[in-house]
Amino acid sequence: MKITVDIIILVIMIISALWAVMTRSLLRSAIALAFTSAIVSILFFRLNALLAAVFELSVCAGLITVLFISTISLTHPLTWKEIIRHMRERLRRFVWLPFIIVALGTALSLVKIKLNLHLPEPDPQGDMRIVLWNLRGIDIIGQMVILLCGVFGVVILLKETNTK
């Protein structure tokens, strides 16, 4: 029963990802990406990764969508003539994608792979907070440097152009 519900959610995720890729409007594409993130976070909840799900929902479905939508609003929209030419071109390029995905999914589901995984011993008592703060070393400094890079990225994003 659990795996059936999971597969239904996974199918919705694939349809949403296809929508994000194939829709003409960039704004709709960003919204579809946020919807895909929300569905991925539901899957995280179902896979007992609660904190990762909250992060995915708030950061990926929220912050990245805001970034995309603000970027799209900073660019100028296409004219009507460009839209018609663009639609034809896009249709020609993306028309095969749903067929490729369905064929790939069917082919992979027919393959019977026997996974002989040598799994490590389970660690049910593990706490994410302890792993995140106590078991890490110098990589925290690396993560701080990466966050600083993000600050500079925001500065570039909001930088005004020099007007003479």
């Binding site: 904190l51 990245i64 996974l115 660690d123 994410m128």
Partner: protein, 106 residues
């Protein structure tokens, strides 16, 4: 050793491969820089889902969650910097089409 959850890993793997292929196809055939970033974002989502699914079947959810939280932070920073670069390119070339980008002047 716990192998009772291994059978559910293959259905997840199929959909993770499909999501990666959608993102890769989008990156390969798109000319718009924002759409290329959206394709990359889909591939990153497939990767995070793979990490969490592996953590679920191995019962190491704490370790994989810590990894995914770090990964999401890096993903956001990466996207912010990439969007900044995209806007810089648009300012220079007045277009987001990769076919019209002909200059490396920064």
């Amino acid at each position: 050793m716990n192998t009772d959850l291994v059978p559910i890993f293959w259905p997840f793997s199929i959909f993770i491969i499909m999501l990666s292929v959608i993102g890769l196809y989008c990156m390969l055939v798109s000319y718009n820089l924002i759409r290329i970033l959206i394709g990359l974002e889909l591939i990153l989502k497939a990767l995070t889902l793979l990490i969490i699914a592996v953590g679920y079947i191995t019962h190491h959810t704490a370790l994989t969650q810590a990894l995914v939280v770090t990964f999401i932070v890096i993903e956001v920073v990466f996207m912010t910097v990439a969007i900044g670069i995209v806007l810089g390119i648009r300012r220079l070339n007045n277009s987001l089409d990769v076919r019209k980008i002909r200059t490396l002047k920064g």
